[in-house]
Symmetry: C3
Subunit: 193 residues, 3 copies
């Protein structure tokens, strides 16, 4: 029996949600994940405005209702008054993973000094990983390239389905495989450093 | 009609506020900003003790009362019991910008391993950006050099006046200029990475 | 009269606390600290399960009861549901030191891309510094090597005993010594950058 793997893609933009723009962030996330994440999975797509309660409700629906093991967002992570994606992510998450935002800002800093204005973060809700990606399509690719190697093992650890990476990106799992406990590490060999 | 641009400079130090020390952090911030930020602006200067409620009241006055688009602080970001500048900043901010602290610590780490003890951060209050700088004058310059390229665009995004950088530092704004939405990025070309 | 310096070592692992595993994280921390931190000190060791209230009570006992100037933990910092060490640390800390987690993730990223899944952090409680180390023994050494140079000065600043580093790691203290105020830096020369 095959597990139906579902990945949520949420574009957060007042203008895209009103149809004033063609959403380019959502398709950029979809294309990049299609090329780099396997086995086959079903995308669950939303385009919503920059309203915190709508973002929260959508993230909850994606995780709890749609059963997405991974939910990526684009938009709403800057310093503007309407940018509330990180606040919504934190509000619905059981725990935060600050390392994602740190690494994405570091990668984006190589391209633009304004990368420090991004408030991108990531968090766990139940068996789902939520990651805020940038709004800009080219920055989405850079950030996904940096974080994708860690995502399959993260989803193992939170009880999600077995994802893998394809193409030029390589998912990393500790030598002992999915049964080990990253943080306690007591079951792990010292082989990886 | 010219906009009166105001920048707040707050020295936070029990001893400087009692006159036991000559404040060197405040003048260091002033000199560095004078040399690197244009067009002409008016400094609003305060020297206050390490009391959280006084720091909070001063930051609020700088942002809401004095109309400073940028407020920089020096002092009070270490691990000591009296160091409460980050707590005060977070208490008055609408949203936090963790990328500033991350980058400033990275830059300071090149000079001293104790840079990880610094709890510097940054946040937005209304149309104002608040940034905690280190207490040490030489570290102030290093940190400002690293973050200044991102500050004018940040102030654009939060509805402040048009700042620019002068001298050897170059403000970065995305090609589409001040009207674009950093986070949604839906209006942006893929030209910058 | 000699001060009795005490350092707490807390292994946080359901399985180690039940005796299903031999605790390897605790001994790895002890061995590394023994080789790199002086003068002589007394270890205070605990092995406890991944229960937030037990972790909090243990950290409080280590800081307030046992008088440990430094408490290091291993385990419980990953994304799994049972990983709650950072939450417990934040709950008992007076102030957080985000620079420790940032640097430890950066160092661990050189070995494994899954380092971004670690939620390690550090905080101050009274006169004690609490630092979350990874669960994996080899990663413990890498992280301690990175942060140890900053720890003696941190403990000076929070009113703890005078620690020093031995062997190949060098504790860094600003030229003016323990009386200076890292954050205000008003007493400091500009000599270190």
């Amino acid at each position: 029996m095959k597990v139906d793997i579902r990945i949520g893609l949420v574009t957060i933009s007042d203008r895209a949600s009103r149809g004033e723009y063609v959403d380019r962030g959502g398709p950029a996330m979809l294309e990049h994940l299609r090329s780099h994440v396997g086995p086959s999975w079903t995308p669950v797509v939303r385009v919503i405005p920059d309203e915190q309660h709508i973002i929260e409700a959508t993230l909850i629906e994606m995780c709890d209702g749609e059963g997405c093991c991974l939910v990526v967002t684009t938009g709403g992570t800057g310093p503007s008054a309407r940018d509330v994606t990180p606040e919504a992510t934190e509000a619905v998450a059981d725990k935060m993973l600050p390392g994602f935002g740190e690494l994405m800002r570091q990668v984006s800093l190589r391209a633009v000094p304004t990368a420090i204005l991004s408030r991108q973060t990531a968090g766990i809700r139940g068996n789902s990983l939520i990651v805020n990606l940038p709004g800009k399509p080219s920055a989405i690719a850079d950030c996904l390239d940096a974080i994708l190697p860690a995502i399959p093992y993260c989803i193992d650890l939170i009880g999600g389905p077995h994802l893998d990476t394809i193409s030029d990106i390589t998912a990393f799992r500790p030598p002992e495989g999915g049964s080990s406990h990253l943080a306690s590490g007591l079951a792990q060999e010292e082989s990886s450093s």
